[in-house]
Symmetry: C2
Amino acid sequence: MTRCAPGGGGVRTSRSTRDNLDKSITLPPDEIFRNLENAKSFAIDIGERDERGRGPDDEPLYEISVQEEITARLHFVKFENAYIETCLDFIKAHLVNTETKVIKATGVDKEDEMTCLIKGCNFVLRNIPHEAFVYVKHADPEFRFQTTHPDIFPYLLVNIGSGVSIVRVESEDQFERIGGSSIGGGTFWGLGALLTKTKRFDELLQLASKGQHTNVDMLVRDIYGGSYESLGLTGDLIASSFGKSATTDKEFTKEDMAKSLLHMISNDIGQLACLYAKLHNLSRVYFGGFFIRGHPLTMHTITYSINYFTKGEVQALFLRHEGYLGAIGTFLKGAEEDNPNQYSWGENYAGSSGLMSTSPEVHPMQRARSGTFDMLEMDRLERQLVNLPLLLDASSYVPDTVDLTEDAMAREYWLSCFEDALDGVVKRAVASQPLALDAAERAEKFRQKYRHKLQTLRHQPFAYGSLTVRSLLDTREHCLNEFNFPDPYSKAGFVRSLISRIKINGKYARPWLVDAYDDWLERLKGPPHKCALFFLLSRGTEIILASNSGPALNDVTCSELAIVTERIAAMDTVIRTALNQDKLLLVQSGSSSPCLDLSRLDKGLATVVRERKTDLVVIEGMGRAIHTNYYAALRCESLKLAVIKNAWLADRLGGKIFSVVFKYELAPP
Amino acid sequence: MTRCAPGGGGVRTSRSTRDNLDKSITLPPDEIFRNLENAKSFAIDIGERDERGRGPDDEPLYEISVQEEITARLHFVKFENAYIETCLDFIKAHLVNTETKVIKATGVDKEDEMTCLIKGCNFVLRNIPHEAFVYVKHADPEFRFQTTHPDIFPYLLVNIGSGVSIVRVESEDQFERIGGSSIGGGTFWGLGALLTKTKRFDELLQLASKGQHTNVDMLVRDIYGGSYESLGLTGDLIASSFGKSATTDKEFTKEDMAKSLLHMISNDIGQLACLYAKLHNLSRVYFGGFFIRGHPLTMHTITYSINYFTKGEVQALFLRHEGYLGAIGTFLKGAEEDNPNQYSWGENYAGSSGLMSTSPEVHPMQRARSGTFDMLEMDRLERQLVNLPLLLDASSYVPDTVDLTEDAMAREYWLSCFEDALDGVVKRAVASQPLALDAAERAEKFRQKYRHKLQTLRHQPFAYGSLTVRSLLDTREHCLNEFNFPDPYSKAGFVRSLISRIKINGKYARPWLVDAYDDWLERLKGPPHKCALFFLLSRGTEIILASNSGPALNDVTCSELAIVTERIAAMDTVIRTALNQDKLLLVQSGSSSPCLDLSRLDKGLATVVRERKTDLVVIEGMGRAIHTNYYAALRCESLKLAVIKNAWLADRLGGKIFSVVFKYELAPP
């Protein structure tokens, strides 16, 4: 199963239970613990264990991971210490007594902590697109998300908790702690507390953000009057951290000392990380731990340090879900008998709270909220997702045509567009469940949730990595699912949709916006294709008809297509013969989106594509061929076909609404 | 010239000048500036320049290097800031107006600082035996001096001043600053001052020596209750420096914080040094800078750190004259037109104040004194000194038979022995200069100086590296030289000495203490040797007669031997023929000691040894064959001959006074 089953998952915590919960703790929001009751197993990561259960803030965080019994979904919740008792009471009352529950906690087996961390890291790198990012302080956006490389190993993980652990990860099961340092987050916090009398980690960071380290540090120019050119040292390089306080009697401000301390520690860790990366010939270095955990200031100082020491050869990479690694790893370790790596996973945008990283003074409220409850939900797909074997270069393939985190105008348009369309979607959702009494109520909740998501994305476009039309569509699907509208377009829509698509060719006057139709006709005079992926039905070419595994908008799903195809076959000899001779295959794509990510296709489809020596790929529809894959380079011939059903987009592409795109690309030489 | 010319050098600063000097500054002791007046050139290193002229203590040190005009000797003086004015006045009044003076100061040309440091480092490594040492805190002695390796390159120099510079030195002229860190001595001092309100560097070290870092640092066992075995982390490893001060509200003592800070910084530098050493495949890593400068505590913490991070593969090495590197390099750079590397140099034990390193609380007075004035004098030999080409393994050759720093009983005996002999030496010195009116006065000064040296060595046996009978003899010679007794044994002694040596064979009844005489006679029945080094005169074997370049005790010098040989040749046909046929060569050894260091021989001798294909080495005399070289392994046959003229030593070797040693060793297979 790839999604929340109707009526399953999310909202079934009974009203009374939730009320009791609300009474006893006021907060948290009722959605936080909602999934615990249906959980099959759950894992608790008791936070930064080297703080003896205390996190970096005065109110340390706990993490809980839950796997639901009915839906194949993982829930990870981080919440403040204050709620741990409530949580445990809830667990005890509702979960422990049932036979099916399995309780795992990393706190128990100390030896497993690092193992869990690495497992979690491997998991997010493998399963969450745009998990890793580079931080660029003055850029807009400040996050540059990395396309997930198909082969994630080897890499270096620098975990900066109280101290620093530097771990080389070789494979899923092999890692080695190759170095470490006692100068870590605990040192910033501990020394910072002694120097500034400020006991809170976040406050120390705030102080640091306002300080001038040059008042405390001795710079190269303080010694030499300028740069030390023969040694390649610039004048503003720190020669000695806190060097000025050695010989001066004046008082230093808390801000300046905190800043100096931050630089000292970040630079040191940066240099160590670089040296270990060089020594072990590793180019991918991920930073995590509570010192990093989304703090822009520490991400910036670490990045700066890495750039300085490697002269740009190595990039400092951070992880969106770095704070969940331990919890994820704990769960995976507990679920090892299930072999979780045989599945694929996808982030559920409805259930995940997203990256809330902003500098403390800009969005103090958001940080506070984020610090209280953070959630990550992962949907499980029973099958593995892999690259389309025909991708020209899988490591550089980017499915989305426009990155809305970078294109502010496009972002503004599409966010408004989706907001404007919300009324219609709500209506359609209610209409899709005429027999459900609470459909209107649920649809209203969906509206609020999705609108809130859109508002959040307006301010934090990087919240889920890259922002694209695809991710906006996916988020809407996820939100609909959360409120039990798995398929608002079911029944009525799909046959009409299918039929309309087949008619495109005759309906629009040429020349089209992108018109390679003549080239294509010319090509058809040549030797027939061995096997086409997607949609073509003539000339003896085998056809793999890939369609969505799950519903998305009015797109036809694989199971629906099977029904339709059967009906057509009953009427049409060509289709019937093709099916009987195994020349027309219906295969699910692995996607449940109107868009298409060719790097996350069902493994079965990939196998068939390879076996049949597919030499033509046809990608059809605005979501699959325009919003995504418009620039995708393949190793074989391809057709990208769509009607631009959006005026703004048509205008951007230099056409009008209902312009036709008929893009025909040859195989590269 | 290899030594102070009679009447030259040291003591000629006029009484009146010295009095004026004394009046104006009370201290320094009159010997400090005594040599400035005769200086041909001098260099001033204005201390730790990155402190803007301030050293690590409240009274920073200045360094002056002087080269005398008459004698080939370098003087390096370090003294407190307080005396800089006096020094400059003195220089101005006495030196600047004369045409011959050249003034160099590193302070002027900032680009040269590192170059000078490296030049100085190369110089001491090349020219001062036992310059480098390993520090072993609980060992006795705590210093383990390293035999100077003939090839000093490549090495890593980690200079810990305010910050840290990590420099790879490839050759005499090639070096690269490959790394560095802002966490250095200035950080210890600066952060220490902020945390403890203690402004003096030495006091901070004293605080640290009394502290318990475990009260402030979070250890692995504080987190995990013990070790973290799967990661190989022991329980007492520091997980987070100052980690306990992050979460605890209690007050920490100054001592504990200072200790924690020291560990933090030392461990960090240690790890960086190790990583750079590994990355550049270097096994020799020298540490210097004011953070180190003889402080046992910092040498210990750095050593500990290096041992931890390299698992013993790399040793932390320190330098006895680390504090002089800048001054030496400054001088050498100034004297580049002289090509100083064509000479050899030797430490003058009379003029050098030696290593005074002890923990601050044990010898606070000595440290204070040492901090006020430190001196190093280097004697120049006009020729290069090299290894005897016949040494079996030059890199493992150790000239001295007994290391008195390790053998406490032997040390006690020899120190007393030399003290007891002092009266006799003084008498002989006076007698050697019957025409000098001030001989008695100078001899008395010699007595005081040498006795003081012996007393110092009793408490600081490591003051000049290794302590040996050879170094005690050398020190006596140097002290005699300093007071213008270059050769107390001149004239009267030497002929008698030479004659007596020739008679040894017939004088003592066999069997001798070591008696290989029969083996030797048997050998003589075999094929004659091609060329013998030293003393043999028969059977057609060529002879190289190596004798001292300068006087030592009653040993014959090369120039004296020339006279004697001439006289003998006039009387003896065999000798005359040998000389005429170039089969008897008189060559100076390069040594001015009754002992013999085969790794510092005159280059001319080494050339002849090689050219003549020498296959027998005869080493004769207690100093050359017993105190030194008794265990020396050679590539050819060797004879080691001596009469033990010391009851204690004879007893130790299992014999009686006047026991004969006749050691005959074959060439290794």
